[in-house]
Amino acid sequence: MKQLISVFAIMAIMLSACTGNNKQVNAQSIADLEIRHEDADHHLDSRENMDHHNMEMGSGIEHHMDSSPMTVQKSRTNSIVIDAYLKIKNALVADNGKDATKAAKDLVNAFDNIYKSSIPAEKMSEVKEIIEDAREHADHISENQGNIEHQREHFEMLSIDIKGLIAVAGADRTLYQIYCPMYNNKKGGMWLSASNEIKNPLYGSKMLNCGEVKSKISIQ
């Protein structure tokens, strides 16, 4: 028994020693990374890449500001996607993380069904790209039942994707893009709704009426 205790004591000492060393280890590792960083710098193509991506980053908030009315083609392709999306929205309006989780699972299934529908080949790559991103947000919403604020964050990002999906593959109903300038440290956040009445899913009961209709998405 005594031996056992001394073994644990030695382990504890070793562990505490490693915490002390840590700062040194990290400084060393930063220096290492620095060197590797410089090496990579010499690649010409990485600079080209950088310019390209900087441009993309600069336009990062354009989706929030776009307030022109939008007309999309009438299509039933997205029907179940829109149904599930609006269910998530309503659950978040009602501060109900559990229902948001359920609806997010429906949404994931709905994405799988989209691939089985008749999407023109030329639109397929864009649809795939949107769904790949949207699916990740839906997964996060379904996995975070107990953390509604995290669900709301992913819902906001999901909304951008759903708007994109509707622009490419159409909608079966009129939708409204609603914008709340308060969200995310006043960076703003948007969502889609079947009604122009403001009920805020990003804050729920905390700020139910914050928001304004930014644009109407009509079907052809």
Binding site: C18, R36, D41, N49, M50, H53, N54, E129, E132, N184
Partner: protein, 145 residues
């Protein structure tokens, strides 16, 4: 007491045994052109914050502490690293679609704002990885750019 000894012995043998489990190491030495810092060229300060507080679990290169060679600690760390990379791999950031890059940037802003990242288990050991108020401000300003 005899049973106690037997159990201790079993535990010791098991601990020794798992030392032989091979663990895949996340130690690429190449910085690809798709690397986040290469693409966005943040200030030195922001680069340092990213490398200290994010890159160990969100890139293809981890600077392993010595105790990562001891099991089951190493297996536990490897689980975190693979999950971290699955959600965000800064080494391969350029391979994400434009849409996904924007999403990842926004998600990074949220995670930092909400104090969700770096994980408490990580900053407990890596004290210098903890983001100060000023670190957070610098990161947010850069990511919001």
């Amino acid at each position: 007491m005899r049973w106690f000894k037997v159990i201790v012995l079993i535990v010791i043998v098991a601990l020794l045994g798992i030392q032989f489990i091979p663990v895949k190491r996340n130690m690429s030495t190449i910085i690809p052109s798709t690397d986040f810092i290469i693409i966005y060229k943040p200030s030195e300060r922001v680069s340092d914050i990213l490398k200290t507080s994010c890159y160990n679990c969100h890139s293809n290169h981890t600077d392993y502490p010595w105790y990562s060679y001891v099991q089951p600690v190493g297996l536990y760390l490897e689980g975190h690293i693979s999950e971290g990379k699955e959600n965000l791999n800064l080494s391969e950031f350029g391979n994400y679609s434009g849409r996904r890059q924007k999403s990842k940037l926004t998600a990074m802003i949220y995670q930092i704002k909400d104090n969700k990242m770096p994980l408490p288990a990580y900053t407990f050991i890596h004290r210098n990885a903890k983001l100060s108020g000023e670190d957070k401000k610098q990161l947010q300003n850069f990511l919001n750019r």
